[in-house]
Symmetry: C2
Subunit: 338 residues, 2 copies
């Protein structure tokens, strides 16, 4: 592989001149620049990222470290972020931690160590302190904040508000016996100020009920399980078989909602005629499902824009106050609700 030294030899200039010319430094004359560029092209030069990084500390890449790549939500996120970062001149390095703290540490170290200038990170097991110590002074933007009193930037959904919106909508269509898929019951007072996105969602659900004069009760909560189609399908089937009566299901996310619809279908219940179902996320899949899924859709493009702009500003030395970015989302009414 050709190095700057090779180009210098080819073009008959010094290696430093090659570096300047390649970076468009104005102090290099046009003829020299042309000579260098021609030599670079001839030798098919491409810069050694490690060397540049080692020397300058800059990689021109951002890391996107998610817990799990194996779901539509992450997929939309990864796609949107990598496209937008591209437009801002940054590469995106995507990784998944799979909820293992060992992976989280290894990936953070590897990534932050020297392959990117900043990272958008969705922690699962690591504490803020552990994260910071791996960050090596580089900027990070965290998804789903772990504590309230933090000194790092965060980005997230208005989960409580969004679930309030979703539940209120279902109530407004006449539903009265709502199920929540899938989380254990908790007292409203215990979750109304939760920071965890799961409990925020529960709180939003409950607040909407209370606002409509309905007291949340344990039977409405389908036992906690992974937010997947399979687990949700199995759980709703159990619920139906147990004889619970309900006319609507508020789901913790779209995948869950899709599983619920499938499960209801297997039980001979029709959506939305017998039961209304609403999701949360706005994954593309919901639009083409039968029935098409009513949901609170998050604006992935806005997520990407806000997140990437923020991290780039921090990379460029912005030391302004800590930011807590909120991703906008909106109710999308389709066919799974009456």
């Amino acid at each position: 592989m050709a190095t700057m030294r090779d180009i210098a030899a080819e073009a008959g200039v010094s290696q430093a001149t090659v570096s300047y010319a390649l970076h468009g430094d104005p102090s290099i004359s046009q003829p020299t620049r042309d000579k260098v560029l021609a030599a670079a092209k001839k030798l098919d030069y491409s810069i050694n990222v490690s060397a540049r990084t080692l020397r300058s500390g800059r990689t021109n890449a951002i890391g996107l470290v998610l817990q799990d790549l194996h779901n539509p939500y992450s997929m939309h996120l990864a796609d949107a972020v990598s496209r937008y970062a591209q437009s801002r001149g940054y590469q995106t390095i995507i990784q998944q931690t799979r909820y293992e703290s060992g992976n989280e540490i290894a990936i953070l170290q590897h990534i932050v160590g020297s392959v990117c200038d900043g990272v958008i990170f969705s922690p699962s097991r690591l504490t803020v302190k552990q994260i910071r110590s791996r960050l090596n002074g580089k900027p990070a933007l965290l998804l789903s904040p772990i504590d309230s009193d933090h000194d790092y930037d965060t980005i997230g959904l208005a989960c409580e508000q969004n679930m309030f919106t979703a539940t209120s909508y279902l109530l407004s269509t006449g539903c009265r016996r709502l199920l929540f898929s899938s989380c254990d019951y908790a007292e409203f007072d215990d979750v109304k100020n939760a920071l965890d996105t799961k409990w925020q969602r529960v709180a939003g659900f409950q607040r909407a009920l209370l606002r409509n004069g309905i007291t949340p009760e344990p039977w409405q909560f389908i036992a906690d399980h992974p937010w997947t189609r399979r687990a949700s399908r199995d759980a709703i089937i159990d619920a139906v078989r147990s004889g619970i009566e309900f006319d609507g299901v508020v789901c913790i996310n779209d995948e869950s909602a899709l599983g619920v619809i499938r499960g209801l279908d297997e039980c001979g219940l029709r959506v939305p005629d017998d039961v209304s179902v609403i999701g949360f996320d706005g994954i593309e899949e919901g639009e083409f499902f039968s029935p098409a899924l009513t949901t609170v859709a998050v604006d992935f493009e806005s997520f990407a824009r806000q997140a990437v702009d923020c991290i780039i500003e921090r990379i460029n030395g912005d030391t302004g106050p800590v930011r807590d970015l909120i991703i906008p989302s909106r109710l999308v009414v389709r066919e799974s609700t009456r």
Copy 2:
């Protein structure tokens, strides 16, 4: 950030000793090693990847460069590869080119330049020659081979065979008027030896028809369009409206099949009662769709294993003959076919 030099000072040894100790070199005595390890821990040391790479040429990472991250197939691939690579001690750097040759070049250069030891690459616009010149001597494993006479490793599906299987199955259930979604018509003789996966799929479809005494005709082919739910839904709706009579649809992939089912639903046609639909890929989504999708499912875990093992062997200097890996897949009969 602490460097080896800092640790050396802390532990009262030379910097070289630190390097040896940290790598478990047997020539370092136990007490010295312990001292070094303690100092490293105390200073929260983590290695500088750029420096290590610059010096050793090894990154311990593989690149996975796909055309598009925004589809379930890629998502399954990325997930499986990154998990398996992890188990082999490698990080996976995932990127998408979005079908732009500029991106392909930039990403290849960046990635291969110095962030990974080898790359699994799905080219779209770049020729083999252009790819090789960016590869910088590092091993690559290409998806969907572009020419027959190549000197690089490839991995892919047995598309022709799989489509033959899918079509044959539909025929065996009694279907006689099959549609193919979505590709333009082509003479069997022109595609039967195609290298392009799209035409291979068409060829498999046609061969199955011919084997059953049916001559493929242009009306069976729904115009070429992206392999997405939306495009396929719109196209099948047009087909129904145009008055074509058919009793089954063979789809170029699962997403397409899901769109087709949705479109048929919108036209009042029931699957599988009125029309059978079969897909190709085996994305998880198909399992939970109503009706659950019959498909030829590819074994993503096997893909990951074969691909990663191959690239790692090449990284480790294997210079054996060129390999053309085939990913196994199998017919999964569910509800969308009679």
